[in-house]
């Protein structure tokens, strides 16, 4: 897998090239005596469409221009150029930062943002312009998830180049941060990925040896999986050829945690490869509530409203399971949680439920 390392380093080069090309464009326009202008796809709602082939949201044909000829555009144009410059610094110096940090760092350059929302927006502009995610520019979110399982990775971050570690080395799991997401995959005995909504279940799975029994890499999403974790899952699927199974609570919020891993979010319609279209939502389904006689809570009004929204969402049309389970949830008016299986003993979810679900998914393929 030596070419993988090349791929990661090549991507970093492409990121830097995209920034340089933006800068070059501005200089060329100035040399030609024209007002610098950029054109990028519009991110307004009417320009966001679900693409059934790519199985994610994409931006349509509509473009927006940002021209320094227009006095109202000068501020956002300058902010965009600054964010590109700052991203170039981060990426070439191999330092990481956060959305919050970028907002404050602007002040070191006397660059003004009214608030963090404004700087976040400009960072999304840079993503749209270049097609790279902010994580590619070393701008990371605060939230972290974790991984555990038999995978050797090779770090590429400063001070760790050439170091190979196995992701079973710490039985509590390793954070998925800038170092893990920029690592190359060396080797694995795993033949699947299991992504789990909750940290507590992740720990239970490690204790019950699921990584060995089911040859699985385990991922704790920590609720809605951060973007870097979703793109990491995509890499595990694409580069290692591993099928991905997702376990969430049996409620509309759990369904959507799974769906965003599978189909991405509208907010990221301008980006690719953050989602894993072939990933499978393995449960907890509304039909599992019935079949396993699980303890439940009643759906409240917000849950019902959310289920009706999901039923109309184009991402929920791509597999009949979604509509079936939404309909059933609305019919039985109940929801449940992964922990509910503990009513049959702490290991039931690992000994009985998980194997059944993995077997069922195999039959379906």
């Amino acid at each position: 897998m030596a070419q993988k390392k090349v791929k990661i380093l090549e991507r970093k080069q492409e990121v830097l090239r995209s920034l340089k090309s933006f800068g070059t464009q501005i200089y060329n326009q100035l040399d030609q005596g024209v007002f610098p202008t950029v054109k990028m796809p519009s991110r307004s709602t009417e320009n966001i469409n679900y693409d059934p082939v790519l199985r994610q949201f994409i931006l349509g044909e509509k473009n927006v221009d940002r021209s320094t000829r227009n006095i109202r555009h000068i501020k956002p144009f300058t902010q965009l150029a600054w964010v590109a410059m700052f991203s170039n610094e981060l990426t070439s110096q191999r330092k990481t930062s956060t959305l919050r940090d970028v907002y404050y760092s602007a002040q070191a350059y006397e660059m003004t943002f009214a608030d963090q929302q404004e700087s976040n927006n400009i960072i999304t502009d840079l993503e749209t312009l270049t097609g790279f995610a902010r994580e590619d520019f070393n701008i990371f979110p605060e939230e972290r998830s974790a991984i555990f399982g038999d995978l050797d990775i090779g770090y590429t971050v400063p001070g760790y180049e050439g170091k190979t570690v196995n992701l079973t080395s710490h039985p509590d799991g390793v954070l998925i941060g800038p170092a893990v997401t920029s690592a190359e995959f060396i080797k694995t005995t795993a033949d699947k990925v299991i992504a789990i909504e909750k940290g507590a279940l992740f720990t239970r799975f490690i204790e019950e040896n699921v990584h060995n029994k089911h040859k699985a890499l385990l991922i704790s999403c920590g609720g809605q999986a951060p973007r870097q974790t979703r793109s990491f899952i995509r890499r595990l699927h694409d580069e290692l050829g591993l099928p991905v199974f997702i376990l969430t609570d049996g409620d509309p919020w759990g369904m959507h945690i799974a769906q965003v891993i599978i189909s991405g979010s509208a907010n990221a319609a301008h980006l690719r490869d953050l989602n894993t279209p072939d990933a499978v939502w393995s449960g907890v389904w509304a039909s599992d509530i019935v079949e396993y006689k699980l303890p439940t809570d009643p759906l409240d009004e917000v849950d019902i409203k959310r289920l009706n929204e999901l039923a109309r969402d184009p991402r929920y049309q791509n597999d009949p399971i979604w509509q079936r389970e939404i309909k059933l949830a609305l019919k039985i008016k109940r929801k449940t949680e992964l922990e509910a299986f503990s009513r049959y003993g702490l290991t039931y979810i690992v000994d009985e439920y998980l194997p059944t679900k993995l077997e069922a998914a195999k039959g379906k393929k």
Copy 2:
């Protein structure tokens, strides 16, 4: 440090003994033909006092009896006996669980809890009765924080016995979960602990080599540090003799994150060793806002209300810094964040602020 391992295993034995002794007491009472009864300290507000010697909240002299002679006590008594039995299973089988899990597991035994609040309460009863924290009974919370730094630990969890790992092995950090908190400390070159409120700063500190430059073990609290992390910090202080410095945002919520690490919470008045009285809150102080001309936000009404509450809290009387900083914050009516130092460049907090604060703390001792 071979005696440390003994200490961890001995503690597990003590935990099991405390459960056995509770069970034995019930059997003896039955043998003697009396209604089983337990006595434990009351956790009602008027029985919670701040102890200036222990520098934490403790329970007073008031006791409550729970007697099976009283029909209203039969249910909570039975629940308590069940929780003790279940904790004994968890501890002796070396499985971990969560508060949520315990609630559902009860159903496997046809033990009824009206809701999770009720089962949480009974678990706190067991803590009060035995003096051990629920983590000692292998009941863990969902939240996780992380650690990074030159510390060799020896795992004691099943499958990892005798394995020693160094906590710099993963540059994103390692989760502080059941395996890390039950590990023995083997050796370290660190001479201090730095606990940081936010994951993003934790990552920045790792990238900027703070662990080497300042010989520090770095801990990411992830907001309010979970109980297991607070008790882990206490162990780092007591067993390794390391001073502890805490960095939080410069607002009442950050102050209280530091204070709970130092002085504990009223909710844990029935327990010991979850707090580190000698730990030092190093910033961000209101006076740093002035001194470093940091970007700020105005205090809102909730912040002001909270600052006034803190000013009256007995924990805030033990060091003049607290009252001084509360007073100043109320005067300048501003708050700030750790990231605000980025206005002077990304590394300013590491290159300038941190060394100044560590030096100041040294002078004070």
